[in-house]
Every structure is written in structure tokens, then in C-alpha cells.
Symmetry: C2
């Protein structure tokens, strides 16, 4: 009934617990004969070391925590998938929490993870997070922390990101290169760094090409998370306000697809009347008609890289070395499809 322990193996074999433990871990000071004996018995009794005891003794849990703003989101679930796939290879399990974009929850969850004594933490920040004490707390405990996608530059930890500004620049440049003369921008909420950086990339591309920057062409999202409807809404607003816009760089594919849907309905031809570039390369963007030109945001790879960096730091800590903080920037590429000329 109860799980087998080292003690039981030791007793039935008439040897000490110490020897059993060493035999199973191939210590050099155990004879081949007893090693074989122990291993055989362990096998037949289906011995599994008690993880709780091992954790306590070694003071590590081979478990990491990850906090994302939202699980039900194609990008984040992809990142999570990447993280888990790597973690599994290295024998780590992954605890997942979601902050629902709330700073309070995020803080609470960091504490939950610290209390559980996970070996390390991966996090993508909530939009509302502006105070970072809970994160510096992690760092000061010398516990590996890696931020991805939505980061805080201030916190002294490793980060895995894309260059949002550069990507947005190239998206806008592509609209310019394909002949657009008046280019609008649908940006998301105001706060998050991503949104800011993409906006700045858009603006810089305009100015570098001698285009005027017109704030009335930038559409902000005041709503919560109704991304698709937001696209439809902004699309019709745009049609009302400006009849000369011939290109839009849109913050997110889902918003872009909402916009395309609205344009399709209104008889606006894409890309002839208005060309569109999205952001993230959501799988639906190749499916919709017309297919959407967009920036590929490598979620899966970001997850992998984030875990790999965390793993490096875990190993460094174990060897009492100081961990090397690092910021990894992943390449984004423009995926050209039918929504631009």
C-alpha cells in the first residue's frame, strides 16, 4: 500500500540505508555485487524516491513557476508550450499562474511561488504593473528570474524579447515601399511597453521617409480585450474620419482581422484601397481572405529561449557562481501576404 522506502530495501537486504542510497546513485564506494542486488530489488519493488524528502534534503524542487497575463491567448499559450517542452527535457516541471493583467494578483502569485520554493520564475508582466518590488524581491533572494515579452527594463534580471520598435519600423517601411502615402496606426492600450515601442517604430519610419506624423491617424484602444470588435470599430471610425488613408499598421493580428472583416463588408478593397500589416503572425492570418501580411512573433521559440536562460542561471546558482544577466532579442521577420501589394 504505502510506497517503498530506502529503509525497506535496506532491511530486506540486511544492509544499511546509506549503502542502498549510494548503490542507487552509483557511488564508487559500493561493490558491483551489492549495487546489482540493490538495483534489482528496487526495480521489482518499484521503488521511487520520495520527492518531498529529496526536495527537503537538496533544497530544490526541480519545479519552476511561470506567470502570464492570460493563458487563453495564442501567443502566450505558445510561449508556455515552448517553456514546457524545454523544461521537460531538463527534468523540470512547470507551475502555471495567470495574473489576468492585474498587478495585485501578479504580486500575490509571485509570493505563492516563492512560498512553494520553486527553483526559478518566468514572467510576462501584467499591463498594470508599474511597481516592481515583488520582482526585485525575487532577484534579491538570488532566485533566477527571467522576463519575457512584457518586461520591466529596470529590474536586474534576464530578459527575452523581440525588438518591437524595429519590427514596427519594418512593417511601416513595407507599407511605404509598396506605395502607401498616408498610413494609419491602430495601437493597443497606452501603457504597455510593447504598444509604446510599436508606435515609436511606426512614427520613426514615417519621419525617416519624409512623411508627416499625424496623431489623428493613430487609433487607441480604450476597451478591455475585445480585440476583434476593436478592429471592426476602429476600421469604421477610420472610414468616417479619413478618406485618404491607404495603409494601416495594426498592433495585433486579431485586431487586423477584425478590421479586414469590416473592410470586406463595406466593400473596401484590400490591398488596392487600403493595405494592411498586422503583428504576431497568428495562425488565422494566413487563413483569412485576403491573407494578412504580418510580423512573425516567435512565441514558441521565446519560451524555449526563456527557459534555457533560466536553466543556465539555475546551474550557475548551484555551483555558487554568480549568474550572468542577459537580454536576448529574437529576430522577427515580415511575412508578406495578400493584404499588401
Amino acid at each position: 500500500m504505502k510506497p517503498v522506502t530506502l529503509k525497506q530495501i535496506a532491511e530486506t537486504l540486511g544492509i544499511s540505508i546509506t549503502t542502498v542510497s549510494k548503490a542507487l546513485k552509483d557511488y564508487p564506494d559500493v561493490s558491483k555485487k551489492t549495487k546489482a542486488l540493490v538495483k534489482d530489488l528496487a526495480q521489482t519493488l518499484n521503488y521511487k524516491p520520495n520527492a518531498f524528502a529529496v526536495n527537503l534534503r537538496t533544497s530544490e524542487s526541480k519545479t519552476i513557476g511561470i506567470i502570464v497575463p492570460e493563458i487563453v491567448h495564442h501567443f502566450f499559450s505558445n510561449v508556455i508550450k515552448g517553456i514546457i517542452s524545454q523544461a521537460e527535457k531538463k527534468g523540470y516541471l512547470v507551475i502555471i499562474l495567470q495574473s489576468n493583467e492585474s498587478y495585485e494578483l501578479e504580486k500575490k502569485q509571485i509570493n505563492l511561488l516563492l512560498d512553494k520554493r520553486v527553483d526559478g520564475i518566468l514572467i510576462s508582466l501584467a499591463n498594470g504593473t508599474a511597481d516592481f518590488k515583488h520582482l526585485t524581491e525575487v532577484v534579491s533572494q538570488d532566485k533566477p528570474l527571467v522576463m519575457f515579452d512584457k518586461i520591466a527594463k529596470i529590474v536586474k534580471c534576464s530578459k527575452v524579447v523581440i525588438d518591437d520598435r524595429k519590427a514596427a519600423y519594418s512593417a511601416t517601411q513595407h507599407l511605404i515601399d509598396t506605395g502607401c502615402k498616408r498610413i494609419a496606426h491602430f495601437r493597443g492600450p497606452l501603457l504597455p511597453q510593447n504598444s509604446i515601442d510599436r508606435f515609436l517604430g511606426y512614427k520613426k519610419a514615417l519621419l525617416d521617409n519624409g512623411f508627416p506624423y499625424d496623431p489623428s491617424l493613430v487609433y487607441i484602444c480604450e476597451c478591455g480585450d475585445m480585440s476583434f470588435d476593436e478592429g471592426k470599430l476602429n476600421a469604421s471610425k477610420l472610414l468616417n474620419d479619413h478618406d485618404d488613408v491607404d495603409g494601416i499598421f495594426i498592433n495585433t493580428d486579431m485586431v487586423a482581422i477584425g478590421a479586414i472583416t469590416e473592410f470586406n463588408k463595406r466593400g473596401v478593397r484590400i490591398p488596392e484601397d487600403i493595405a494592411i500589416v498586422g503583428f504576431s503572425n497568428w495562425f488565422m492570418s494566413s487563413a483569412i481572405t485576403p491573407s494578412l501580411t504580418t510580423i512573425n512573433q516567435p512565441g514558441f521559440e521565446m519560451g524555449k529561449k526563456a527557459f534555457k536562460q533560466l536553466y543556465k542561471e539555475l546551474k550557475a546558482i548551484k555551483k555558487n557562481k554568480s549568474k550572468a544577466i542577459k537580454t536576448i532579442t529574437l529576430e522577427t521577420i515580415l511575412v508578406k501576404r495578400d493584404s499588401t501589394k
Copy 2:
């Protein structure tokens, strides 16, 4: 540097570890004075019980494991969200693994979770899983196990499901009620119980209404996971094979949306020429044109219910009661939209 322990508190206060422990847990045999003293000091030193030690002593981890075939899937990530939301309320953390629809991986992961000694396991089976030893093993260890969505009826554990057959029946009935005379079915892969049940529901609705069942109207998916393209492909196959079909019940919304896309391109009018009902109520199905009539599959609620059942069993086990196995069937409703008359 090192985390505070009961011992340190005891020493600085000149009392025993026992008393400190009891004071913090409000045992009745500790005076109010010492309780206050202990709690104050614990507060200022920011004492947090060592989870590893607690785990070992109480032999529970307040952690559960969950295995899904695929995380990057709207339905499953919704279920996961539901599970986590409930688990968090009850003080449980959640470890997530994905089987990638592989039986071998699933088996390995069950063992991983057992080795980590999670308190309970939630699982949705891989398509390939036909042998259930790894699962009966969990049950025989008296560790709570709850299956959801993709289940195995044989295994003696609690389950949370929808009535796929009934839902499919009502979907098909709706096509009949709105005037369809010749109704096709796009089913997924052959093996999974879901796919079978939905097919059976479709068939039964036909027969009950005096329609003939024509196997050539049932389209199977041989491919892997290219759901959207599968919809497009099957749609054009159907147009080739049959010019008299005026309604389709489709296994999954994503396939349905693929089909709609193809029909739109080919100039087939929906619902006038062909009416379509999907399955799952994916958020995109209200976005597409025409919006998709579908069966709502309550993922978030399923996750919540699944955890609640697991929690009941966890508590029962703790009290040495035998846990009551239960199968919970969630209601599905037909969401009528523009893809049917």
C-alpha cells in the same frame, strides 16, 4: 540570507520550536501572550514555512497535475484557465504537461506526476491512448484522478464531459428543422470517442427523422492537425462529389470556418445554398461572415467542475473516507447564428 526557520524564532525568543510552531497555528495550549510574541517576530522576520519540510511531514504538496493533448488550443487553454482559477481559490498550484496526442508521452507524464507526488491528477486523454494501465495505476494508488472531455469509460474514476451524441443530435436536428434535405458530416479522426459520439448523434438524428444515412456524405480527416485547411479541402471535395447537399454538420468550429472560407471563395451562399453548424463555439465563430451556428462547449466551466470534483476527492481521502466516483455531464446549447436559416 538564508530563509528564517522555526528554530531561529524559538532561539531568539528563548522558547521551544514546538511552541513556536503551535503558536503560529493557533493551538489552544499556547498562551495568548506567547502567541502574540511569536506572531510578531515571525511577521518582522518575514517567516515563511519551508514548503519542502511541510510536504514531507504532511505528505501532501498542495499541488495537482494536469495533462492535456495540446495547450495551444482554445478549448483546452480555456479548461486549464478554469482549473487554475478554482485551484488557486483552494490553495492549490497546478503543474501542466501536454501529451502531444501521444500515448507514450502521456504514460511518461503520468509517472512524472506520480514521482513528484502531486496530490491529484486531471487528464484529457491523447487520441492514441487505448491502453489504460498507467491510469488504473493512479487509481489503485488511491490518488484522485478526474478525466475531462476525452475520457476512457473503463477507468474507474470521476469524469466531466458533455453529451457529444446529444449535442450532435440537436445540431443535426436544427439543420433538419430549418429545411435541409441532404445533410453531410465532416468528422475528425476516427478514433477519439468524441468524434465517434458526434458522428452517432448525427446519424441517429437522420434516422429518427426518416432520412437515409449515406456514408458517402461523411468526410473523414486523415491529416494531422491542419484543421482549417481540412475544412477548405473537405468543402471542395464535397462540391465535387455532391451537388445536392444543402447542410453540413461539422465536427469543429475551426474546420467549419475553413469550409466557410472555401465556400465564400467559390460563391456558394451560406446558408441559402448550404447551411452549416459547427461545434465548440470558438470565439472566431461569431466573428466570421457569415457568423457560425454552433454548439457551445463550455471549456472554462468544465475546468472548474473538474477541479471541484478532484477537490472533493482530495478531502475525502484526507479523512480516510472512500472517495465517491462521479460522472458529471455539462449542458451544451445550440447557438444559432447566420450560417443556418
